[in-house]
């Protein structure tokens, strides 16, 4: 069991760092190559959203165990402007990152679990889990 790692996201370099940490942990947990890359991509997307829209925030990466299975959980949190219309943000074709990246629906599809909490002017918290099946 690893301790949760929290990475402060302020610059693009921090995004790279978060990706790296996510990839390392997934490798340790025995995820396949593609899934490792998908986890890194999902972290990348969440971190970019923080970087672009909130300015600053954190990415926390940790191992989760439940019912005999192991997974990686990523929490992306910021105190930025929040998402006004979550339903729309979760719709395909409505990419908040303006073309680059998969946006939230893409992240949701790459992961096994996805939840989002956001309130205007208070920030956004996204939690994703990928189980190693």
């Amino acid at each position: 069991m690893t301790v949760p790692i929290t990475i402060e996201i302020r610059t693009e370099q921090d995004i790279v760092l978060a990706r790296q940490e996510g990839r390392n942990l997934s490798k340790q947990l025995g995820f396949g190559n593609i899934v490792q890359s998908r986890i890194a991509t999902a972290i990348s997307e969440l971190a970019r959203n923080i970087f672009q829209y909130a300015g600053a925030g954190t990415i926390t990466i940790e191992t989760v165990k439940e019912d005999g299975r192991v997974g990686v959980r990523i929490v992306a949190e910021d105190h930025g402007p929040g998402i006004r219309d979550i339903r729309r943000a979760m719709e395909d074709g409505f990419s908040t990152s303006g073309g680059l990246g998969a946006g939230l629906p893409g992240v949701r599809r790459m992961m096994d679990e996805f939840s989002i909490e956001s309130s205007v002017d208070h920030g956004t918290r996204v939690v994703i889990i990928k189980w190693n099946s």
Binding site: A40, G93, A102, R108, M110, S118, W131
Partner: protein, 351 residues
């Protein structure tokens, strides 16, 4: 606001996917091996077919790259830089994979929307499916075909009593779903207005008020509303900006425009609609239509009213339904089987 997918279901799905994946990978390996030995077109053909199968099985592009790498690793001693380079390729391909998954989800949403539209189409058909009344002394024909799935054309027949029936034809600006929604409003309003047995000009006056209050200012409705007396064979009607129909005088063997003035519905509050009256002799025809019939592009040019009269003239001896059917077919051929606007034609003949 929290939403969460079911993790257990995903795991199960994952295992089944893995088995399937092993099978696909084995196939891929077989083809790749054969190709590397003989470099034959057969293997390339098989690879193309396998690609289709991958798509059917929803295999993402990045997974195929992974499959290629694993297969190659099993088969040859790969130089380290070549092996490492696949990581970069995978990262790029994940974006394509995301787009591919988005496309798939949008496609399933499209299917869902289409089935919703199907339901709406059926509903609209129920709204419009009035039988053409069979009357003594008068023969009626009707053709109404939407350009898209849903029609913005409206028609209505009501028999009031033994010697009186009403007919209405309307065209809502635009087509498709917005026009169809507006059409259903017209339908409900007409159902109410007919109960009151108003004159055509009064019906248009009231309908104008309803339309004006309830539709977007950019939309309007054109309409002809008429009342046919089976005893005197007089046709009283009023027009709201509608495409003029035709009156055929059998004695003179001549077509005339069915004259009438009035502003389209929904444009001007309180507009008045004058009433016109004509008498029909034996063999005379009334032809009511929407502009989808007349505004027809034939190659580079538009259909002229005179040409339309020519086509009608050729059909004069036939039954009302045959005239309507034949005209529809004829015009469809002339416009190269394209129907850009809803097409509705009502033919009324005094027997």
């Amino acid at each position: 606001m929290w939403s969460s997918s079911n993790g257990t279901a995903n795991v199960r799905k994952g295992r089944a996917g893995q088995l399937n994946r092993q099978h696909l990978q084995a196939q891929y390996k077989e083809i790749l091996q054969a190709y590397l030995e003989g470099r034959g077109e057969t293997q390339l053909y098989l690879a193309q077919q396998l690609g289709k199968w991958f798509l059917k099985q929803n295999v993402a592009p990045e997974e195929i790259i992974d499959m290629h790498l694993h297969t190659m690793e099993e088969m040859v001693d790969m130089p380290e830089p070549v092996r490492e380079s696949f990581q970069l390729l995978t990262e790029v391909m994940i974006e394509y994979g995301n787009t591919y998954r988005e496309h798939r989800s949008l496609r399933s949403r499209q299917k869902q929307l289409e089935s919703e539209i199907e339901v709406a189409v059926t509903m609209q058909q129920t709204l419009l499916s009035e039988k053409v009344p069979s009357l003594e002394g008068v023969d009626i024909g009707l053709v109404s075909v939407p350009a898209k799935k849903m029609s913005g054309d409206y028609y209505h027949f009501v028999r009031h009593d033994a010697d009186l029936f009403s007919v209405a034809i309307a065209d809502i600006t635009g087509k498709g779903i917005p026009a169809a929604l507006c059409m259903s409003m017209i339908k409900y309003a007409m159902d109410c207005l007919y109960l009151t047995r108003l004159d055509p000009s009064e019906i248009l006056f009231f309908l104008n008020g309803i339309v004006e209050r309830n539709i977007d200012p950019s939309m309007f409705v054109t309409m002809l509303c008429g009342c046919y007396c089976l005893e005197s064979h007089h046709f009283r009607y009023a027009v709201a900006g509608h495409e003029p129909g035709f009156l055929y005088r059998a004695k003179e063997e001549t077509f005339y425009d069915l004259a009438g003035q009035g502003i389209a519905l929904g444009v001007k509050r309180g507009a008045k609609y004058p009433e016109y009256s004509i008498g029909l002799e034996e063999g005379d025809l009334l032809i009511l239509l929407t502009d989808g019939v007349t505004e027809r592009k034939m190659g580079e040019r538009f259909l002229q009213r005179e040409e339309l009269i020519g086509y009608l003239q050729a059909e004069v001896g036939r039954s009302a339904q045959e005239i309507a059917d034949n005209l529809y077919r004829r015009l469809l051929e002339l416009s190269h089987f394209e129907l850009p606007d809803d097409h509705t034609m009502i033919v009324i003949r005094r027997a």
